[in-house]
Amino acid sequence: MFLIVCPYCKESRDQNEFSPAGEAFIARPQNPEELSDDEWSDYVFYRTNHKGDHWEQWVHTNGCRKYFLVKRSTISHEILEVAAFGEVTSENPS
């Protein structure tokens, strides 16, 4: 049961209020029709399932309903960083 600081509400709240929404920084391809089946499945199905520090999306379901970014250690479950979309984060690829 994590404690998560919502970057919009600026409050540390119980995990009950949030829902996970998958790995972060997986952009929808701009040109799906031009991709091969393999490239498309890569986007739809394949995730890194990373062991260690991991960026993921969460949504404050029972709060402000905003999606945001969470960097979490998948080993210790420590939450290392939270960010709103568009905010500069330590490892934002864009």
Binding site: M1, F2, L3, R28, E33, V44, F45, V59, T61
Partner: protein, 1006 residues
Amino acid sequence: MRLKNHKSDFIDQSEALSFIFNNKSYKGYKGDTLASALIANDVLFFARSFKYGRKRGLMGSGVEEPNALVSLEIGGRYTPNLKATEVMLYDGLSAVSSSNPNSIDFRALIKPLHRFMPAGFYYKTFIKQKVWAMVEDSLRSIAGFSKAPTEKDEDVYDHIFHHTEVLVVGGGVAGITAALEVLNNSKTTRVILVDERAHLGGELFNEFQSDDTAISWHHDNLSKLLEFKNVANSRLKIFSRSTAYAWYDHNYIEVLQTNATGESLISGVTQAARKVLHKIRAKEVILATGAHERPMLFETNDLANIMLSQSVRRYLNEFGVISGKDVVLYGNNDSIYSTAIDIKNNAINCKVIDIRPSGGESETVLKAKKLGIEVLQGYAVLKAHGTNLVKGIEISSVEMQGKKWRLTGPSKRLNCDLLASSGGFNPVVHLDCHCGAKTFFDEDSQAFLPQKVRKNRQVCGSISAIGFWKDVVIDAKNKAQLILLSLGEIKKSTQDSMSKNYLDYYNASQFFVPIEILNRPKVFIDMQNDVTTLDVALAIREGYRSIEHIKRYTAMGFGTDQGKTGNINGIAVAAQFLDVPLSEVGTTTFRPAYTGVDFGAMAGREVGGFFDPQRYTTIHDSHLESGAEFEVVGQWYRPWYYPKSGEDIHQAVNRECLAVRTSLGMMDASTLGKIDVQGKDSREFLSRVYTNAWMKLAPGSCRYGLMCNEKGMIIDDGVSTCINDNHFIMTTTTGGAASVYSALEMWLQTEWSDLDVHLSSVTDQFATVAVVGPNARNLMKVLCHDIDFERDNFKFMQWRPGTVCGVQARVMRISFSGELAYEINIEANYGRYIWDEVALAGKPWNITPYGTESMHVLRAEKGYIIVGQDTDGSMTPMDVNMKWILAKDKPFSYIGRRSFSISALNSDDRFQLVGLLTKDAHVVLPEGSHIINNKGGSIGYVTSSYFSPILRRSIAMAQLKGGLSKMTEIVLVKIVQEKQGLKEIPCEVSSSVFYDIEGEKVDGNE
């Protein structure tokens, strides 16, 4: 028996309590546990064992007790599998053993066969031989612990949330000291102290007899704690009789507090919660959970009155009871001498058998010898004699040769009626390991100790192998200082040093015993699950090496024991048979819960009506008055059908459907999910999330849309209405509203933040009354005068604003039945009013309210799918024969589109939606029935199936492999018919549109 002249701080001899155990009456005193009261009454048998049905007595005195499982009370207060050692006595208590030791037991009758029932017996004998199904019921009925409750729980349970800076788990010397040190050195830090026993002090009470400084220390420190507690806005909370049973991520700890057991509530406040589940978030955690003693191993070590040494000591000192007159203490560490001294001081005969050789004795040992206690050093117990109850023991001299014990002499017999053993101590590391921390084996203390460093956590006291209580005080202060430092309350911590022999009590010599003993039969490691040393040996012979596998194969450490008394010995036995060091074997994984937790406590108040939210439309009361039956759809209570007196569901649905098809029906459609979509990019947004085109939908029009996910699978459908170019109202399925809304928000927020679109859920803001049937237009003309209802002026899939019975409304001409239909949307508060007005005005046409069941029949007659019933998350629009709804020329590759061209989604043998017409028109196929091929294998299944009143025959929709190319073929559907058993029903594959195939009815009669 209870000692006459014993003075106890816990037992109030002025208050006698009567209670019943296994149908016999006894008396005890206030302050007793059920276990101590029974010892006082010389009751020594508590239960039969799990597998062999052996009679068992007490082994421990608290949460570690493996044998004495009892169930309390009857009826709505019945509680199974409580430990007699943890049940506080109250007047009128009634308990029975989980398995009565005094009755005849099948498991005990087959005693000669027990040696043929080792680990894996049930699997090898029954499951592998494929006869399990025949014997399962009878085997299960004789095995197991207490019977499960059958009645509704009468009691209430609470959940309370807490936030604190420091949580101290364990209220012994370490916990008390740590809590006080934190409170004394900070003005703001909040502290919660939880302890599983009724009185704070832990094992310190055992020192009271021989150490006056222990008494004064306890008195002083407890009053200091109370000073902190008994002030306004106290920073300190103390929970007694509370067990921290789980530690989850981010220092979230769950604590179960027992306020009362069984019927003791009746004598108090009846509405008080029987148990409270405290949900605690702590910045820092101090673990002062102590240690459990482990027993020594020898043959038939499970006889009654073979107990743990510290437990015997506790019963004696705290409760003034003991279950023998001729006691033998046996062990490998000094704690047995402390127990012996206390026993001797109460004028009871006792001897000490120490496996360690003589020489280098500590003060405690010398003190015992000085008191005249007979001490045999360098001896091991080989076997306990007696049937059910211990009568004597067989011992032999032993010697450490290299790193292994060996028997050196002939055996001899000693008589005794109580054997108390100590094989050392197992630190209670369970909680610390729940979040993945590891233990390590410490050679000095011969114990698995908690991981040395962990963030925001300290351990103190005997959990880190510190035995003597004065050293524990120093250790706890040191650790509390580190906590204060971590909280920033102090700048620098002070650390005092402990005495040289702080490992006293833990100076267990290696806790292995001679292997000759382990090779004997009936050397029980785990009493609760009847696991013996030979079971472990067998597991190893059969190739198991990992302790996790050995545990599962033998069931060692299962049940309520969870590795408290049995596991560490089991690990040692495995190490000995494998001939590897203990550290190499390691421990099994500790997981929540540390001890049994009542389901009632987990549920708390979220039972009955509070289990799940219940949603009602604003028209609900009218449905109740009409006598509707309801079904729950995504938390909504929807009218299912409206039976008239004497009607069953079939008759009611028949009447409702025919009314809609021939004249007029009305339905409450308020529960459909509604999402208000606004912004100048709303059209573009709809085009991206629906498969069809939306750019040209004119204001005043509606359109049906099918929504897929990126995998190309259907997730929702519904009609969206164009209010104006920047404003649409999307409807979703009743159950899908929340997930669709969430998915749409995700696209907007994470991918398309450039779109000017705003979504609001408006499901609850509107009530919707559907008016359906050939006479719908006639009725609407009566209800509303400012809308032109003429067929060509208000077409199908259009909407008009207007005033219905004086209320502003949006009237949509959409249909889920194929009939002429209007949906009147009004502000939710007018729902009931409009419903009643419609019902009144519709009387000339015999307007008939209908529920979801008729709605399903009517839509199935037209072949309209229900997402989630006819589709299951693996269906594409092509699979449900809706290729027509896939736009080809939208510039944006809408959600799911790319997946439609993946070859796997275009294969011919995918499940495809078809209609099924049974050859015998009266056979209604049960939904879920399988369509079978000539080998009997499944090639599809029925998703919707009804008897159609208008067609007077059964209709069904089904997912059939390659179904769309099997039209008019005959397939077989396997069903179970009452009295006739399995039958194969021949059906013709058809289109899934059964009624009004040309779609002529939608415009009504004119």
